[in-house]
Amino acid sequence: MPAALRLDFRCVRTVSRTRRSLLGGALHVSSTQYRVLSMRCAIVSLATCISLLFATHAPAVQANPLVPGYERFFAEDDAHTANGGALLLGELNCLSCHEALAALSAYVQTKQAPILDNVGQRVRPEFLREYLAAPHKAKPGTTMPDLLASASESERIDKVEALVHFLASTGKLREAAPITPAVTRGETLFHTVGCVACHQPSQVDFAKLSTSVPLPAEMEKKYTLPGLAEFLQNPLHVRPSGRMPHLNLNEAEARDVASYLLRNLEVAGVVEYAYYEGSWQDLPDFSKLEPKSKGKTTSFDVNIGRPDQFGIVFKALFDVAQEGEYTFHIGSDDGSRIRVDGKEVAVVPGVHPVVFKSGKVKLTDGTHEAEVEFFEQGGGQELKVEYEGPGIKRQSLEYALMPPEDKAKDEKKFVVKPELVVKGRALFGSLGCASCHQLRIGNQQIASAVSAKPLTSLDNEKGCLADSPAKVPDFHLSKNQRVALAAAIKSLNSPNLRPARPTDAINATLTAFNCYACHQRGEVGGVERSRNALFNSNQPEMGDEGRIPPHLTGVGAKLKPGWLKQVFDDGAKDRPYMFTRMPRFGSQNVGHLIKSFAEADPPVADHSVATNIGERKVKSAGRKLSGSQGFSCIKCHTWGNVKATGIQSINMVTLTRRLQENWFHHYMLNPQQYRPGTRMPAAWPQGQVLLPNLLDGKALTQVNSIWRFLDDGDKAAMPVGLGANPIVLAAYDEAIIYRNFIEGAGPRAIGVGYPEQVNQAFDANNLRIALLWHGAFIDASKHWLGRGQGFQPPLGDNVLKLPEGVSFAVLENPETSWPTVTAKDLGYRFRGYRLGEARRPAFRYQIGNASVEDELVATSKKEFTSVRRTLTITATEPIDNLWYRAATGNTIAMANGVATIDDSWRVRVTGGKLRKSNGAELLVPVRFVDGKATIVQEYEW
């Protein structure tokens, strides 16, 4: 043995001796159980080396059932434990025959066999014949037992044939050819989205891993392309137990992956072509031309000839599943025509860039012929042939192409024999297939006629576990597997079996579902070293965090139960940079983890803080901390659809939907404790406050402010500093004006930034102050870069949205309600503004014959300063019953001349009168003295 291998082997032994119990000794058989081995790959590659060494000598071995969790944690000679056996009990679906107590469900996660209701639509009868005759040969590693192992050769052949005819009778196969672009895309998907976390990657030089869930050696012998694509789009439909999870492949992606897996499907030459050369301005009559060459290809490929001045006529068969009206779309550069069954459906005349034409045709279900003509005069060339119809979204017709009819092949074509269907159906029940497989005919599920002893009365050395199983299902168990199963049965039947702990269910589930292939929890699991390079990211600078799925240590205290459920049911793609997708396992399968995680991972200590600082100011602080004036979270974290300025880390907007608040508090104070190795910096290192002037200067108050801010989700205002090229306008010594579309102030908004770090947006449509806010004024980039579509929100914080409606109105009597129409409808007119001291604008407008000047001044230079609004109204003739509305809200409370509106903002104004309306209003009568009236109002918020 070479030295390197010996060294590896020593490592393995060393680690083996230090193993600890995963199940905490619940199944008290072995104290030397398993733990995750970073050396695991060494074992695997060792195994590979050995198998390679012997490969040439060893006869074809019929493999044992392959369960990845078992292979990874239990398969070694000294790890044949009850835990491994319990896993096998579930994965081999033993309990579907051998009844067990419900209390054991924490230890045994039963895996239902595939549902065979429509297996005939998906799986070829030729494969079923081979598979049923010798399951372990046709699909090495299969968990399906051989039910006919004890039968005589002739009996076996007869029974298999009947079963095959019965199964084939459940549906009709549809064929389609994998096209090269789909195969290429599928190969990429297969190796990036997560398939190879469990399955063997296809690179020839990639070591064969014992933990790879087996696929049939030649997939194309088992599946048709439409059948496999449909399965991949929703594996849970056929395999409801979620071991093959739903990867959120859309229709096209599923077809791509299926095309890749079936790339060797022999349907080459599905398209016959005749190639012509010539110069045309429109489609020629090809029937009068002599083709330069003829051949077969796999798609409507227009790059088979010279670059310009050629024509091609393609002929191909395609298959539709339903009768109905179909629409064909043909798009080409230059001209093209499509005929279906000889009838013209659409034609694209002339020379031009890609132009689409469409036409409709009624088709019966079954096979039809498409004839596509194409010509290219000069320049680029392109041809797209698409169709849509009952149950088919618009897609390439290439997906429905079939091989040309082949008489010789047709004679060999499988034909269902009704008498065998009847026989096979009976066998499906009597042999025990129905014990594991659901198969409904009509609405009736076939019942199994087989009964077996309950788990409690099993003899561990007989039946399925015997050295040579006779008249029982033959699982091809290895010796170790038999020992493990026996140990598990013994433990589970033991009166000393301790009650299950949350960790038991967690370990059993994460092993059975192979969650450990991606996730580590505590010391267990995680990406195998040999598969590590298969996990990738589009943000390489994020390192492992960007490409390796997150660990699950303490996840019960981290994620919200509702979020976990959503992830189980819908999968997740919250880390857009990570190629591997979190698939759907279904909460019917793994939903119990929510409770188990919660019990196993006690919540972190409550760090919530009570503060009497107003909600808006708290959120302002949170926003400030998130933005470039604070800790620049937005530099690395995406904000909704807005990219971060640096790396593109997980979306902040969904944070409070995902995370538990307490965990967030703890995490922010010490990221490394919760995500060792994370590049997330500690913003409060050792609890130290770097921005002591913010809020009360306490770390937890500041952390809390971020949570409160983010808790507004997609309604939270974007933090300062986002966007590629912000153009921040700021007032220094003088006020600054920005007239544009301002969110909350309308299209005729006039934003004013004051040097005191306070701002307003005046709505010149309705002659009112629409917004008041503190801090930064506005980012002009939306309007000043590009064409400038959209409304720009304030850049600063603590934005007070003042109620809609005009500020002045003539009220006939004190009960008259405040007008809701616009200022223009009331005849008011905006008159502009004059810039006064420090170039502060005093807005001017006309209310009837009264002129109003409306000026705002900051009362101090302190943070969150209040502002004073002075309204000077002059009129040659006083207007009767003119009122000014100083405030309106749901509630207004008056105390010491200060009105508090909605417990949120305050105004001080002389002579104000409260009245109840649809809520409350604070109205000030306008009293003219010598043709002039003045109102002074202060706002604090």
Partner: protein, 509 residues
């Protein structure tokens, strides 16, 4: 016709008659310096720069000069308004070269200013949202009083809703063209309209049918025109006459007739999409056909500002003609208009290319044509994000078609210099094709209905300053594209621009 052939032709000509060539004098020394080989005689090719020199301003780095409006202030400073809402003053606008020019900010915070003009102390300013007049009351060089003159139209918050403002007409009214809400709709009042505002601030709805204007300006007699851009109901860009009460072709804004109180007549009937504009004009009396089409990708792609030459010859020989910018091509085009059957129509010629950015605002003074540019949002051949150029006439008269007038049986061409009777009198020196555009609700149109009329005679006037083309097959409603590659002046010069596009809406009787 290709550029190469023209070059070779003219080079030969120039070699023969170089002493007579006015431009050759200015370049021959340079040509000799550069190379002794004959290939360098391409330097002898007449170039726009020999007649209209371009002076480019250096814009200080802190200034973003996306120039939407240009005017001279009473004190002689040049005011330039910007899309970002600033108004800058240039103290020495005619400095040549423009060194040590001081830039000061007169006003800021305005909303996309696409039109300014000064009247006394006031600077009238067309903002997206309103017409405003500005004044510097305290004399510190910065405006401090901003008076709203009119905000009688609405904006909804869509960036398309631009407003372009004119100089005042003879009654002191300022005219504005208001872009639709996008290409098709008018979501709020008077989008897709031309309105005029009286000196006392009253707004008078004037024309419907506007799509997406690029500029507005008067001709020499004070009639108002605007440019509209290719899109729905506009097969290509064009120059249109804002005859009060007329319908300019895009029905998107016609819903607002119900707000006008009938002052400009009833709402016109809807045009039929897919028709031709003259076919519809015969059915819809309000429909004013496009006075001059600017054939797409031949003359430009986004027609913009308008300036009328009323310099009395200080800008060359084109007194009374219009200059029109093209934003995409970074050019200035030249337009000659005449009235036929009561409607303006006419011809456009290339005039000057190579502007710094996308030409948008034009201001013609006795000392040159200022062209302000921007290419934000819509690209331009001129690669600067914004620019301010001044075109000055060198005093040399280029050999050009001066006017092209429709006749019942052809066209009359006048020239800026006497023509060579041999080439100008040969029908083979001319090539004409005609076409028009589909008048339709969907975007733009290809050229359609092509014809090739036959030029039967080219009669040179005795003074050599005009040529009468007799033509079989004039097409009413068609652009008549005339190429004159072989026409030479008596001094053997080729035409500086040898193609013109006449929009023949009406054939005179």
């Amino acid at each position: 016709m290709t550029l190469n052939i023209t070059l070779m032709d003219s080079t030969t000509t120039v070699m023969k008659k170089q002493t007579a060539s006015p431009f050759f004098r200015s370049v021959s020394a340079l040509a000799l310096l550069v190379s002794a080989s004959f290939s360098s005689f391409v330097f002898g090719q007449p170039a726009e720069d020999d007649y209209y020199r371009m002076i480019r301003f250096d814009i200080p780095p802190h200034i973003n000069l996306e120039a939407g409006g240009i005017d001279l202030m009473p004190d002689g400073k040049l005011a330039v308004s910007t899309r970002r809402g600033d108004i800058f003053l240039v103290d020495k606008p005619f400095a040549d070269p423009p060194k040590e020019v001081q830039w000061t900010k007169y006003a800021g915070g305005l909303h996309e200013v696409l039109g300014i003009h000064s009247v006394g102390d006031w600077l009238y300013t067309t903002q997206r949202c309103e017409l405003t007049r500005l004044k510097d009351e305290d004399g510190d060089g910065r405006a401090d009083l901003f008076e709203t003159v009119s905000d009688g139209w609405e904006i909804s918050g869509d960036y398309h809703e631009y407003a372009f403002g004119s100089r005042p007409d003879k009654d002191g009214n300022q005219w504005l063209v208001l872009c639709l809400t996008g290409s098709f709709n008018s979501n709020v009042p008077y989008r897709g309209w031309c309105v005029r505002v009286t000196p006392d601030g009253k707004m008078i709805p004037t024309c419907s049918g506007i799509r997406s204007p690029g500029g507005i300006g008067m001709n020499a007699v004070g009639d108002m025109f605007y440019t509209d851009n290719q899109g729905p109901w506009n097969g290509t860009c064009g120059l249109k006459h804002l005859r009060p009460g007329s319908f300019q072709g895009h029905p998107g804004g016609n819903g607002w007739y119900n707000l006008t109180g009938g002052v400009i007549g009833k709402r016109p009937t809807e045009p039929q999409s897919g028709s031709r504009i003259m076919t519809e004009a015969k059915k819809i009396p309000e429909l004013e056909p496009t006075a001059v089409f600017f054939p797409y990708k031949k003359m430009g792609q986004s027609a913009s500002g308008i300036a009328c030459d009323s310099t009395g010859g200080k800008f060359g020989p084109f007194e009374g003609q219009l200059f029109v910018g093209d934003q995409t091509f970074s050019t200035v085009m030249r337009v000659y208009l005449e009235k036929v059957k009561g409607h303006y129509q006419g011809v456009c010629f290339p005039f000057r290319s190579g502007l710094g950015s996308g030409s948008l605002s034009l201001k013609l003074t006795d000392r040159g044509l200022f062209v302000g540019g921007t290419n934000r949002g819509w690209g331009s051949r001129g690669n600067k994000p914004y620019a301010l150029d001044r075109l000055v006439w060198t005093g040399e008269v280029s050999f050009e078609v001066h006017e092209m007038r429709a006749k019942p049986d052809g066209f009359e061409l006048t020239f800026t210099q006497p023509v060579d009777p041999e080439t100008a009198g040969d029908v083979a020196s001319y090539k004409m094709q005609t076409y028009t555009y589909i008048y339709q609700a969907s975007y733009g149109s290809p050229e359609v209905d092509h014809t090739e009329p036959k030029i039967t005679a080219a009669e040179v006037a005795s003074d050599g300053l005009s040529v009468r083309l007799r033509i079989d097959g004039l097409q009413e409603g068609h652009v008549h594209e005339l190429h004159m590659g072989n026409v030479r002046s008596v001094k053997a010069l080729p035409l500086l621009h040898n193609v013109g596009y006449y929009t023949l809406n009406y054939i005179p009787e």
